[in-house]
């Protein structure tokens, strides 16, 4: 065929393709203006056993659009914020409730920025596996969202006002990011539930009521203790002391301040945790299964109200370190008493450790792990190091003479 012969149909084909591009274009386009951005979600169970899905939705208009034109003084004052509102819908499962919720709203609900997911106590106790299934299966929710359990209804947490942060979801997220307490993401939760131990642990939220009626909007929630899950059901909680012990065992403690009393009550040394690493070494000797826990920590002395001279007196430092070891032991013991002996749930992933170290033995004992776990002997070997005792060797309140004694 001559050149001119096929040039025309080719041009026509190209034109046709380009035209069809324009026709298909934009079919799944959604402008930000058409989105209701979910900042946090709460999952509750009502008395009838149905699911209540509460979402916190960002209101773009509330704080007087960015536009650049409005004067800054229009920013809302100290009365917390109304950047968000919450909405609840009831349904058989999340997907169902979500569709009801969507029916009530003018904009498309968007999970993509939901960074916190709170389970109510009742919902947690009745099992969360089905909910997790939705959150992991649907494409929009983030696997990196932080998950919590709240005492009482979860929706109450989302309905609180936040003074410091943009909204309550952001408050929770910031708390989790700071790593002072346990933080668990959706992906981690899913991993925990499918692990050998079939257990999980989530941070527990408590609502602190407002100090006075006038300051109603100053009620806040914070992470206080842990919620312990056996399989996918919550079976109990721990207080914050035991929670610290759990963090030590799970090697999740990154920051913190420990106060010890090396010379008896009345005076104390506070240590700032700089670094901590926990190693679990499982041992099987005959029929006794044992777990050796080695914890190394590095600390700064933050405050010293005792008469010990930490700078020049090596003995005093050793004393403080020993006391710190004792403190760690006691916190961990509390956790073990509550969780290992009380709830008999392996949230420390001892199961995984044994599995890795003794695959053959594990295979045999796997089915009896629940009976085996409470009897695992845990030996603690804390090793606290004080790296920086501080520069001031003499307390200003104690005269030199007295100090020299």
């Amino acid at each position: 065929m001559n050149r001119a012969g096929w040039r025309y149909p080719l041009a026509l084909a190209a034109l046709w393709c380009m035209g069809s591009l324009g026709l298909t274009g934009c079919w799944d386009r959604t402008e930000v203006n058409d989105l209701a951005l979910i900042t946090g979600a709460a999952i509750d169970r009502d008395e009838a056993g149905r699911l209540e899905l509460t979402v916190q939705i960002f209101i773009p208009r509330a704080s007087g659009g960015g536009g650049g034109a409005e004067p800054m003084s229009q920013k809302n004052g100290s009365t917390g914020n109304n950047n968000t509102f919450t909405r609840t819908a009831v349904g058989e499962n999340i997907a169902d409730a979500f569709s009801h919720l969507q029916g009530e709203l003018s904009r498309a609900l968007f999970w993509g920025h939901a960074e916190v997911i709170v389970f109510g106590e009742a919902a947690a106790k009745s099992g969360i596996r089905d909910h997790i299934d939705y959150l992991l299966r649907a494409p929009q929710p983030r696997e990196r969202a932080f998950v919590y359990v709240s005492k009482g209804k979860a929706q109450d947490v989302l309905q609180l006002h936040s003074i410091l942060e943009r909204d309550t979801a952001e408050v929770l997220r910031e708390m989790s990011k700071s790593k002072l307490a346990l933080s668990v993401t959706l992906a981690e939760l899913a991993a925990m539930l499918t692990d050998d131990a079939h257990s999980a642990v989530l941070p527990m939220l408590t609502i602190v009521p407002a100090p006075t009626f006038k300051q109603m909007d100053q009620a806040l929630s914070f992470i206080d203790g842990l919620a312990v899950f056996k399989d996918d059901r919550m079976i109990g909680g721990t207080d914050s002391n035991a929670a610290r012990g759990v963090l030590w065992l799970r090697n999740e403690i990154k920051r913190g301040i420990v106060t010890v009393h090396p010379v008896g009550p009345g005076s104390s040394v506070s240590l700032k945790l700089l670094k901590s690493s926990t190693r679990l070494i499982p041992r099987i000797e005959g029929d006794t299964w044992r777990m050796d826990v080695y914890i190394r920590t590095e600390n700064d002395a933050l405050q010293n109200t005792t008469r010990l001279n930490l700078t020049s007196n090596l003995q005093a430092m050793k004393q403080v370190e020993a006391e710190m070891n004792e403190e760690m032991k006691s916190q961990i013991r509390q956790a073990l008493v509550a969780v290992q002996e009380g709830m008999k749930v392996d949230i420390f992933d001892f199961a995984g450790e044994f599995h890795r170290a003794y695959p053959v033995a594990w295979k045999k004992e796997k089915s009896r792990w629940d009976e085996r776990f409470p009897n695992v002997e845990v030996r603690l070997h804390p090793n606290a190091k004080m790296l920086r005792p501080g520069l001031a060797s003499i307390r200003s309140t104690v005269p030199d003479k007295e100090y020299a004694k």
Partner: protein
């Protein structure tokens, strides 16, 4: 050029005068001055405004009209010997005379002489050598080419004094008869390259060449590409540097803009100052330029794609603040971006065209329209203004203006793709551009040269700007003549061993 007998200079003065007057009929700027050389008649012809009249009087007319000159004129070849004019040569044909005449020469015809003479007394008003406005620089020579060819070649010759620098003349354009010079350094530029350029220039058959852009458009490899394949500069130092790398330059009479070929995408992204400043900042600025090269191309599209399709990709706080500022905007992100980009382009174009007196007013209005007013009128969101502003600045960072234009153009189709298919479309557009760039060639040299095909040694001038003492080899363009610039060991260091001092 017909060489028949009528075209030859005739011994008869009358015939020559008639021939010239016939050619230059109705040309008021051509002057004829008839005079007597003793007994002989003679005349000079010149074009007003192109000739140094003072010199014509003093060095041509005065000696000729003096008694005795006529004797020298008897011997036709002897005439130049009594004229104190450096450039005085015989002309055999009228046509030759015409081309000399329009070049500013004075034609001298003597009755009875079989040849005429062309006396190079050209002088016309020219712009003085100034700093090139479009390629300003902090450190480096401040001279730029002018519209006058011999001034330009002198600037080059002053930089490269070796006789190895060759200048080959061409005359292009049937009516304009523009002088075009091909400049190269013998031994550095590949023979095949010179042959190819010569051939491409001689192939041009056109009525007029008014700017080097005509030549560029007629000799480039892929005329349908948005990317320029020939570098343009008005800086003699840039041309010299390219000549030393084995490239060739094409100078065109009447324009300060000189073509450099072959050139690659990376040579378009290099500023002469990269080499004049210390090498670390040179490297850093180069990377900054690469970054902003990408930003010019994709930033608005990226913004549109993410805001229309991929909301989950923005950090939450950022999305929330964008959502806030976009809340009252009536347009989709794509329309918003187009609106801003088009008005920015319009503003830029207007800024170039406007008379200087109005320019300031327009830039103020423009800044207000684009920045303040558009956002407060609720037409455009503040983040979009940011995006457009950054893109605008980014496009100015590319040293080669024509490359910047290419990116500015390509930004729009990518924006459409991004608006229709999100990041998928954006990538589609970018891939198409990369494929195109890979297929481009500049006088046979692949456009992405040291990168594709990969040439590790030449990365010293692409990924970094190596110190001068480390740039030992020339880029390998089409040939491999004289690969080394300098012997090794040029790195300055304190003397070794026992210092006598």
């Amino acid at each position: 050029m017909s060489k028949d007998s009528s075209d030859l200079v005739s011994p008869s003065l009358e015939a020559n005068l008639r021939a010239l007057q016939g050619l230059y009929e109705n040309c008021a700027d051509v002057y004829y001055r008839e005079f007597n050389m003793g007994k002989k008649k003679a005349f000079v012809a010149y074009i007003d405004g192109m000739v140094n009249i003072d010199q014509l009087d003093q060095h041509v007319l005065a000696p000729l009209m003096r008694e005795g000159a006529a004797d020298a004129a008897d011997d036709a070849g002897g005439l130049p010997s009594i004229l104190s004019v450096a450039d005085a040569g015989p002309i055999a044909t009228i046509d030759e005379g015409v081309s000399r005449l329009s070049g500013g020469s004075v034609l001298l015809f003597v009755d009875g002489a079989p040849r005429g003479f062309a006396l190079g007394l050209a002088k016309w008003e020219k712009r003085s050598v100034e700093e090139p406005a479009a390629e300003s620089i902090v450190r480096g020579p401040r001279e730029g080419f002018t519209e006058t060819l011999n001034v330009n070649t002198s600037m080059l010759r002053r930089k490269i004094k070796s006789p190895a620098m060759k200048i080959v003349p061409f005359e292009v354009g049937k009516l304009t008869r523009t002088k075009v010079l091909l400049v190269y350094v013998e031994g550095l530029a590949a023979e095949s390259l010179i042959r190819e350029v010569r051939e491409r220039i001689s192939r041009i058959d056109i009525d007029g060449i008014l700017e080097s852009g005509y030549i560029e458009g007629l000799i480039e490899d892929n005329p349908l590409s948005p990317f320029p394949q020939i570098q343009v500069t008005e800086r003699p130092d840039v041309v010299s540097a390219s000549l030393l790398e084995g490239r060739v330059a094409i100078l065109v009479d009447g324009t300060p803009f000189t073509l450099i070929a072959p050139s690659t995408l990376f040579s378009m992204l290099q500023s002469p100052e990269d080499y004049y400043q210390r090498f670390m900042i040179g490297t850093l600025i180069r990377w900054l330029r690469y970054t902003f090269f990408l930003i010019t191309l994709v930033l608005p599209s990226l913004y549109v794609a993410i805001l229309t399709f991929h909301h989950e990709m923005v950090p939450t706080s950022l999305l929330l603040s964008i959502a806030k500022s976009r809340e009252d905007i009536p347009f989709p992100a794509l329309v918003e971006a187009l609106l801003m980009e088009v008005s920015f382009e319009a503003l830029r174009e207007a800024g170039v065209r406007l008379p200087k007196q109005v320019g300031a007013a327009v830039s103020i209005v423009g800044a207000l329209v684009i920045g303040q007013a558009a956002t407060s009128a609720g037409l455009v969101s503040a983040p979009m203004v940011m995006v457009v502003a950054i893109t605008g600045i980014a496009s100015f960072m590319i040293p080669q203006y024509s490359t910047g234009i290419a990116l500015r153009m390509l930004r729009f189709p990518i924006m459409f793709l991004a608006g229709m298919f999100g990041l998928l479309g954006l990538m589609l557009g970018v891939i198409a551009i990369v494929i195109h760039l890979c297929s481009l060639r500049s006088l046979g040299v692949p456009y992405l040269q040291p990168l594709a095909p990969m040439k590790g040694r030449e990365m010293k001038d692409v990924l970094i700007r190596a110190p001068v003492w480390a740039m030992r080899t020339r880029p390998r363009l089409t040939g491999r003549s004289e690969p080394y610039r300098q012997p090794p060991g040029q790195r300055p260091k304190p003397p070794k061993g026992n210092d006598p001092s």
